[in-house]
Amino acid sequence: MELNDLTNTTGEWLRGSGPQADIVMSTRIRLARNLAEFPFISRASDQDRADIEKLLRDRVLKIREQSGELLYVNVSDLDRLDRQFLVERQLISREHAEAKGARGVAIGSGEQISLMINEEDHLRIQCLHSGLDVQGAWDQIDRIDDLISEQVNYAFHPRLGYLTACPTNVGTGVRVSVLMHLPALVLTRQIDKVFRSLQKISLAVRGLYGEGSQAMGDFYQISNQQTLGRSEKELVDQVTDVVPAIIHYEREARDFLIKESQQTLHDQVSRAYGILRTAQTISSEETMHLLSKVRMGINLGLIADLPMLKLNELFIRTQPAHLQKISGVELNTADRNIERARFLRRYLNREEDGNGGKN
């Protein structure tokens, strides 16, 4: 497996078939870990970083037997485009892409697992699952963490738990995030109510997705704020318990919209689909916005000829770095917008060469 092979695949987490996948796009858990015998990244010398990278790469690759094939990428060697590509696939963070010095990422087959070395912490383990699967993601990441902890000395404090570069992650180092598609709650203007109730139980909501500030219509990420004083199980349960309630509200809002304004809704969805299939130039922001509408249309049965997996793929493949990797040339913004429109037309109009270079 090589980095370029990923261009032709869709990460396991995007397959759109996990539990509640019509509303929950993905579940992600990450663990922040540090080695006891090195300074945190902010005080690490170039030599320290190189030593940490070497040591952790070696240990991480040893878990291969239990976790399947791992592709190791030296992020510091990659050009800008490839780094952005990994960010768009959620395999590394934007910070990791833009950082300096020795750093790398180990990627599991199916792209469910990624292990970032020398991000904000020495090691960031991430598990990304399709749909709502907090427990499944936790079981997997817990196992990987155990395997690695047998080979290294994690910085650990008897009272404070796992020690992290930022005190916001100390304790368990666990961040559980669920990415939800909530178009009906947005349309019915109830999304703020949901936000307020989540804040009361100290869950954070971000109306953002993926590539840093890249817009993605109606997608919201819900995650735990607290990492200390609650066990991993409690953190997992907290998110697991609250997400079904939000799903329930979203479904109610969808039913309401279908009942009260099906025609308007159908019109909006059809127009969005129409623009995506016919535009000659289109920005990434507009694409996200329209794809979100079409996604809702599929879930409401208003669009029948587009499978969810295909639609999900478009979220990834219309991002700037993906477009450029697929087309094989570096493009400026204006040319990207033309290429994006061309790609969408071919993909959605089912022309023979339009399945994104799969054949």
């Binding site: 030599q47 963490d145 404070l160 005190p167 916001t168 991993e232």
Partner: protein
């Protein structure tokens, strides 16, 4: 809902934890981008929750107390509390011990708790102190080389090797 900074519709809803309370921001795309990228490209100046909170908590102290506190440095990695307040990132695991008193209210503010309840590493956390010492020794070795004190650097290198060997 309108953007808080202009007339466009707010499509981004960002929740920030700051000063122990949540603040909601409703922004249009352009302003959200601006907000989220502020401080980018200037390392150390990016506002972090911990940094912002540390700034706020320090307000209660007198200027003199603060100046004294800020100058205190971790004996292991050398970071001062002032540097931490500015960048919101700690320098090494030992900082949690040496700045314990200062970090305690900060941690309580962020998490509402101060005692870990979760899993422990499989590898016992024993010998942590000796491992932390490695951070100091590597730093001192680097400083010795910079000062061309190769005698001391060699001594430190041998000690480091010895400790590393016992850990394999």
């Amino acid at each position: 809902m309108k953007c808080q900074k202009c007339e466009r519709p707010a499509t981004f809803h960002i929740t920030e934890l700051e000063g122990g309370k949540h603040t909601e921001l409703h922004l249009c795309e352009q302003h959200a981008r601006q907000y989220l990228t502020q401080g980018e490209g200037e390392p150390g100046s990016a506002p972090t929750i911990a940094g912002a909170l540390a700034q706020q908590l320090a307000v209660g102290q007198t200027a003199e107390e603060l100046a004294q506190l800020d100058q205190r440095a971790c004996p292991i990695c050398g970071i001062t509390f002032y540097e931490f307040r500015n960048q919101g990132r700690l320098g090494c695991p030992h900082d949690y011990v040496c700045f314990e008193k200062e970090l305690e209210p900060l941690i309580a503010n962020i998490h509402g708790e101060t005692v870990h309840k979760g899993k422990k590493p499989k590898h016992g956390a024993s010998g942590t102190q000796q491992r932390t010492e490695l951070i100091r020794m590597r730093r001192e070795m680097k400083e010795a080389i910079e000062k061309e004190n190769y005698e001391k650097a060699k001594e430190l290198r041998d000690q480091i090797k010895k400790i590393e060997a016992t850990q394999e």
